[in-house]
């Protein structure tokens, strides 16, 4: 018998084909626990789904998982819709998740969260939409089941606190499929009738599913559209429905709503009494204050001794007048003194004074100049006379007057010695009044000169 060998690829393809044609594997509803959860950068989710006995790798692509409202975590129990096929490269069978919800109350929880976020975006919860609740209503409507303990609690509480208010029960089915329509219609009916100051919309405690009608858009929109202020009173304090977010005031319980809807008549009466007492007190106080003021005015000195007041004032004015006069005089005196001082200082710098000084100086200098010049002339004259005298003493002609004569030879030279002439030479004797032309007859030598 010939053995037929097939490739791994062929085998894998065969297995994949087998799985893909099985309708049971194409639309599976599985529950399990998440482990190895990994949110990839590209947005795909990779995880392992397991229970006590087995495990299977799973993938949820971005296109599917972007609708998942909650964040999957390891250890979380989930409900899954998907298909199983073979991942050929690894030879693994794998779960492709199309839809995922938390196990248990997950579906409702998810719907609640989704609707809450939608309504928030639409602005239905915004504070500026909230109407104020009338403090002293005359008529109150209760939108609730007419046969419940909750309605009895509300009626009892309201009557105890404020028996004069008109209570009207507007019946509504508050759980089950018809609830949302029934509650919404009751609110709309109450608005049409138009006689209510306040509406209380609510019911007693129950499971999340029991209270679910108050999370329905139909109810929420009816509450939002109501022209009458609405107090919501749904379940217990821990229950919060979307109607609570959209109502004008949220009460923790139906009884709590009754307390918020009406005042206590005892408080109102007390307040009235207090105000009428206060009115009397205030008026008495006002009158007493005015009496006191009047007394003060009557006792004031101007009413007691009016003339003295005038005299006192007169005296005061006189004193002021004196002081004023004195001040003016002092001021005047000081100013005058000041002016005098300045004048004295100024006269010191008068130009006449300066001119006189300069004039004196000029006179002094010109007389000095005259003296010096005269002296100089006198000295020069004396010197000149002296020089002339000296000069006349040395004039040779002057000597001739006293009988001396000057001999000149023929060459007209002065003969100073006998050696210069010879006998028979012609000489000229110069006298003071003329010349004598002579002839040397004899030459005798002076013995002393021998």
């Amino acid at each position: 018998m010939q053995k037929r060998y097939v490739t791994i690829t062929a085998l894998t393809k065969y297995l994949k084909k087998k799985m893909d044609i099985d309708p049971h594997l194409q639309e599976l509803y599985i529950k399990g626990e998440i482990s190895n959860f990994n949110l990839h950068r590209n947005g795909h989710m990779y995880l392992t789904l397991k229970d006590d006995g087995a495990r299977i790798p799973a993938v949820m692509f971005y296109g599917d998982n972007r609708h998942v409202k909650f964040r999957p975590e390891n250890g979380m129990h989930v409900l899954i819709k998907g298909q199983v096929t073979v991942y050929e490269q690894y030879g693994q069978y794998q779960l492709y998740i199309k839809d995922m919800e938390p196990d248990g109350i997950g579906a409702l929880y998810l719907a609640y969260e989704q609707l809450k976020s939608d309504l928030q975006k639409r602005g239905l919860f915004d504070m500026h939409h909230k109407k104020s609740i009338p403090q002293y209503p005359t008529s109150i409507g209760l939108v609730t089941s007419p046969t419940s303990a909750a309605v009895r609690d509300m009626i009892t509480t309201i009557k105890r606190r404020y028996p004069i208010v008109q209570i009207t029960v507007i019946p509504a089915i508050v759980q089950g499929n018809e609830a949302k329509e029934s509650i919404a219609q009751a609110i709309e009916l109450a608005n049409r009738v138009h006689t209510f100051d306040t509406l209380i919309v609510g019911r007693g405690g129950g499971s999340l599913e029991d209270l679910w009608a108050f999370n329905e858009l139909r109810v929420i929109e009816a509450v939002f559209a109501s022209n009458i202020p609405i107090i919501s009173a749904i379940g217990h304090e821990t229950d919060t429905t979307l109607t609570d977010f959209v109502s004008d005031l949220r009460a923790p319980t139906p009884t709590g709503a009754a307390e918020l809807a009406v005042p206590s008549i005892i408080d109102v009466e007390e307040n009235l009494l207090h105000m009428s007492v206060r009115l009397k007190q205030l008026l008495q106080l006002n009158i007493a204050r005015r009496k006191e003021l009047l007394q003060k005015i009557e006792q004031s000195p101007s009413f007691q001794m009016p003339k003295q007041i005038i005299y006192e004032k007169q005296q005061f004015v006189d004193t002021l007048d004196d002081r004023l006069q004195q001040q003016i005089e002092e001021k005047l005196y000081r100013t005058q003194h000041c002016v005098q001082q300045i004048e004295t200082k100024l006269s010191f710098y008068h130009p006449d004074r300066k001119l006189k000084q300069l004039h004196e100086k000029v006179q002094l200098l010109s007389s000095q100049l005259e003296d010096k010049t005269a002296q100089h002339i006198r000295q020069s004259t004396q010197q000149f006379v002296h020089i002339i005298d000296k000069l006349s003493l040395v004039n040779p002609l002057h000597i001739l007057k006293r009988g001396f004569a000057l001999p000149y030879d023929e060459e007209n030279r002065v003969v100073k010695s006998i050696n210069h002439v010879e006998t028979k030479d012609s000489i000229r004797l110069k006298l003071h009044d003329g010349d004598l032309y002579c002839q040397v007859q004899e030459i005798r030598r002076d013995p002393k000169n021998e």
Binding site: P134, Q135, Y136, T138, G141, P146, T147, S148, A149, V151, R152, I155, K159, P163, I164, V165, Q166, I167, T168, V169, I170, P171, L189, A190, R192, V193, I265, V268, E269, N271, L272, M275, S276, R278, L279, K280, L282, L283, N286, I287, R289, R290
Partner: protein
């Protein structure tokens, strides 16, 4: 003025009374004005008291789908 007062609701009358008390607490108010306010306040106070005393205990009603009402049966089914 008293005719006007009679038309006020309890809430309006009470609010007005509170306003009068507040304005009387103001020292500057002239005597004549304060007398007038006092009178009006006392009237309002009496009126409010009368409204409380005269208001009978109202019967609780049950509204029908057409908006009409009938007395609410206190006997509960539960």
């Amino acid at each position: 003025m008293s005719e006007q007062l009679n038309e006020l609701s309890f809430e309006e009358a009470l609010k007005k009374l509170e306003e009068i008390v507040t304005s009387l607490e103001n020292d500057d108010i002239p005597l004549e004005k304060s007398m007038a306010l006092y009178e009006e306040g006392m009237k309002l106070s009496k009126q409010c008291n009368r409204m409380l005393k005269n208001a009978e205990e109202k019967m609780t009603e049950l509204m029908q789908a057409d908006g009409t009402t009938e007395p609410y049966d206190e006997v509960l089914e539960d």
